[in-house]
Amino acid sequence: MINLPANPMLFANLLTEPVGVAHYVTVGAVLFVCGALCMATKRNALGVLMGIELVLNGANLNFIAFGSPYLRSDAHNLGLDGQLMALFVIVLAAAEAAVALAIALNFYNNHDSIDVDRAAQLRG
């Protein structure tokens, strides 16, 4: 059974009460969805790349939130693991950006375009 918990605290008093994991996850979700939509709507390959960065950041924010002692205090806290995961994500994102940029530039060299819609040779 799913139900929005009927907790008025969720909506009021955000200024006077500490925020929780859910609030961070919400921001992360917004970043994630914006990123996914960027990937889905931008025709510029670099725009798609920026979308990926946003998606990764949304995920990163979640990792941080799950590991933060200020946001949840129970035993399921990820602790430092969250931060370490986030670090790996950042590093891999850098690597991914480098490769993706290289691919984009190569695509640009070969096709004289940066429009991902023109990159549909793999169509079945």
């Binding site: 009021a12 008093n13 200024l15 006077t16």
Partner: protein, 420 residues
């Protein structure tokens, strides 16, 4: 204070006036101090630059405005810039064009948030960050965005060329710069700038530049990369006036242009101060005057304050010297070509920094607790400070192989015990 202010409520939240007033005031004081440092610093540095360049080129520099030495020349120039017309190219991307100088300026100022001016138990720093070195480095890296945006949005090919050069250069030079910074971090065992600075308390023999031969070389590599990362000659490809008119700020005029200028001098000062803190003892002079005179917080507030003031003067002075050296370099060395700039970074600075990093590590393993090229012992007080500042956990500031083995053994046995 009127009583109604105490009862002030908004959306069900009691706005306790004292709290937020105190927070706001504290924040404003920090902002005002940093802004003043950057703005007044720029004022002085510009004058200084003219004077120094004049002397190097065997002329006098400004002599008229504000007395014999032309003290107020910069101020007069500032007023001139203020009254200039604010131009924008017709094809420019207005929003980005207008915001670019502020991005640069904010990044330049932002670095000062985490730079300490004095250390000890009550450091003079607007935000004491655990990972201060990284923060400064990161924020300084943001400055390039202002330049890139300016270059792109001006709709001028000179600007675009300048910005592209800047982007390539900054991305490349961050690698050796980071590697150089890691060396003092490694020795101090902390990313906290206050801890790093206090690691060098005492005589100048404790300065990290003199820690071992590798740190000595690292310092010069760092300084080279710092010059490159703030776009000063001989690495000022982004604004090379002989080829690109004025590079990324070709299309700027008046106040916006002066913001770029201030940002440049602000970041010069901040990298120099960073060099001072990382390698040159920070707020500790070559001779520990404050210690010798007993200007410590333990001896009362006034004396402690005096000691801190002395420390701040020390740091700023060292930073200023660094800036002067940059000027000196600018007016004596010819500008490099872009391929030479990249070669310098990738073929020289990076490998050297990597080797220095390795060397410093090896040195630290072999002669732990030794200073001044391994000749002197590190004072016991320094260990205490760095241990106390790193959270009081049972981690030695320098992890020796023996320590690690012991630590791993203990965790392993614990793991095994739990598995059983």
């Amino acid at each position: 204070m009127a009583p109604f202010l105490l009862e002030l409520e908004l959306f069900g939240i009691r706005l306790c006036p004292w709290t937020w007033l105190a927070y706001t005031l504290a924040g404003l004081v920090h902002i005002a101090l940093i802004l003043n440092l950057v703005a007044v610093g720029a004022l002085i540095f510009i004058w200084l630059e003219r004077k120094i360049s004049g002397r190097i080129q065997d002329r006098l520099g400004p002599t008229r405005v504000g007395g014999k030495f032309g003290w107020l020349q910069t101020l007069a120039d500032g007023i001139k810039l203020l009254t200039k017309e604010d131009l924008m190219p017709e094809q420019a991307d207005g929003f980005l064009f207008k915001i670019a100088p502020y991005v640069s300026f904010c990044a330049s100022i932002g670095a000062f948030i985490a730079i300490p001016f004095a250390g000890g138990a009550y450091p003079w720093i607007s935000q004491h960050l655990n990972a201060g070195v990284f923060f400064v480095l990161a924020v300084l890296g943001l400055e390039v965005f202002g330049v890139i945006l300016a270059g792109y949005s001006s709709a001028s090919k000179w600007s675009l060329f300048g910005a592209m050069r800047e982007a390539a250069q900054v991305v490349s030079y961050e690698v050796p710069l980071g590697m150089c910074i890691v060396v003092p971090v490694l020795i101090a065992g902390s990313l906290d700038l206050v801890v790093i600075g206090d690691r060098q308390a005492g005589w100048f023999t404790n300065w990290l530049i003199f820690h071992d031969p590798f740190t000595f070389i690292t310092f010069w590599v760092y300084f080279t990369c710092a010059i490159a990362s703030v776009n000063r000659a001989p690495f000022d490809l982004a604004e090379a006036e002989s080829e690109l008119v004025a590079g990324f700020h070709t299309e700027y005029s008046g106040l916006r242009w002066s913001f770029f200028f201030m940002a440049e001098y602000g970041s010069m000062l901040s990298v120099s101060m960073l060099a001072a803190i990382l390698f040159l003892g920070g707020w500790h002079g070559p001779i520990p005057v404050a210690d010798l005179l007993g200007l410590q917080p333990e001896n009362g507030f006034a004396l402690g304050y005096l000691g801190q003031l002395l420390g701040a003067t020390n740091v700023i002075l060292k930073g200023t010297i660094g800036v002067c050296v940059m000027m000196w370099v600018r007016w004596t060395l010819p500008r490099l070509r872009i391929d030479q700039v990249m070669t310098t970074c990738l073929k020289y600075c990076t490998p050297i920094a990597a080797v220095m990093f390795l060397g410093a590590t090896v040195w630290l393993f072999n002669w732990p607790g030794k200073n001044f090229f391994g000749l002197l012992d590190v004072p016991a007080a320094v260990y205490e400070i760095s241990d106390g500042a790193s959270g009081g956990e049972q981690i030695p500031s320098v992890v020796t192989p023996a320590d690690r083995v012991a630590f791993e053994a203990s965790t392993e046995t614990k793991n095994k015990r739990e598995n059983l």
